[in-house]
Symmetry: C2
Subunit: 201 residues, 2 copies
DNA sequence: GTCTATACACTGATAGAC
DNA sequence: GTCTATCAGTGTATAGAC
């Protein structure tokens, strides 16, 4: 059977045409704008197609389904976030990993509100249940390392602590979305302080 | 123009027929089950109608729109939650209000997973933006009172603290939804301890 | 390889008969 | 109070033009 050519690296990823690359990028950009502005329901295939200047069916030529379009847009926004957070965490010392995680994540989401809404909408409306552990595990490891570096007794609370911090970050960012004047930097500082009291008692 | 009769109390609420009361209650119950089982999208008007033994149009006779059906079911589940939390908070002393809030809310949501998913789905899919302040303000007041009772210097952080706690509760409950073995009571204890360190330094 | 045209089943919603 | 009939809009599938 006929198959799409694969890249020279042979890593299994299909080699994309220039026009296809451009179209996909355009569709992702348009989708982020639409979802950020009108939410998941408001970003219909017809609306996406119209903004891109093509038809619904053409959109479904580049992506197998609407969920795939949204997923691609979601991953695009998400990769920018994790990239910045990873950089900040690596630049920080072992005992300051969690603080760098919190501050860089809150800061990034404040700087990019469209990406933020895109991520939230995709997370809450995508029925494909992503593993929740993927969300808290990286932070849990940072917390374990930081607690160890500070000489605290290693407890088994890292998971719950990470879940709490993650939920708190979501709430802070969400609040800023509704009240642009909300001081997220101060909120992040308070969260870091709260965690600091637990890590070095 | 013809208007529906209002109750003798004259509080503006329409007086409902017995059969209408029964139908609404049945539709609310059916909707909670469906939303909890299949999410917002899975609870179509046709599915609700079928489970209730009537047609789509009949459902829309009792409620003006699908959003109204879901909203009614949402409020039904929510009122049970706030009732239990309010009782627990009132039974606790002033300095233990936040702890009672956290433990009773987490406990209630663990005991009633169907209500929990109903509340989550309704919150995330209802575009009618409810005021976020309604979520954190009651807890913020409890925190202020408790901090005062413990002799802590009154800071202006009550809002952010309440937002953080609320987000943490959401994350804990959500985690329990995906992993039924997750120990939410221990998580609530940890959250209370974290807050306690801030309130009485 | 890229796209348009068309048709399909399903959604929430309305109008009017009984 | 509940029905049938109908509507515009949704995501999706297919055929075929270029």
């Amino acid at each position: 059977m006929a198959r799409r050519r694969e890249s020279a690296a042979g890593d299994g990823r299909p080699e994309l045409t220039l026009t296809e690359r451009a179209r996909r990028a355009q569709l992702i950009e348009v989708t982020i704008e639409l979802v950020a502005a009108k939410g998941y329901a408001g970003a219909s295939l017809a609306a996406i197609a119209e903004r891109a200047g093509i038809t619904k069916a053409a959109v479904l030529y580049h992506f197998p389904t609407k969920a795939a379009v949204v997923r691609a847009a979601h991953e695009h926004a998400l990769s920018a976030l994790v990239g910045e957070v990873a950089t900040a965490v690596e630049a920080a010392g072992p005992e300051d990993g969690p603080a760098a995680y919190i501050r860089s994540m809150v800061g990034h989401l404040r700087k990019h509100p469209r990406h933020t809404r895109m991520i939230i909408e995709a997370m809450t409306h995508d029925e494909g249940d992503h593993d929740p552990a993927a969300r808290w595990r990286p932070l849990a490891e940072l917390i374990t390392v930081a607690g160890h570096a500070r000489g605290a007794s290693a407890d088994g609370d890292a998971r719950t602590t990470a879940i709490i911090i993650g939920g708190a970050i979501d709430a802070i960012v969400s609040e800023q979305l509704h009240d642009p004047d909300y001081d997220t930097a101060a909120a992040a500082d308070l969260l870091v302080e709260l965690l600091g009291r637990k890590l070095s008692p």
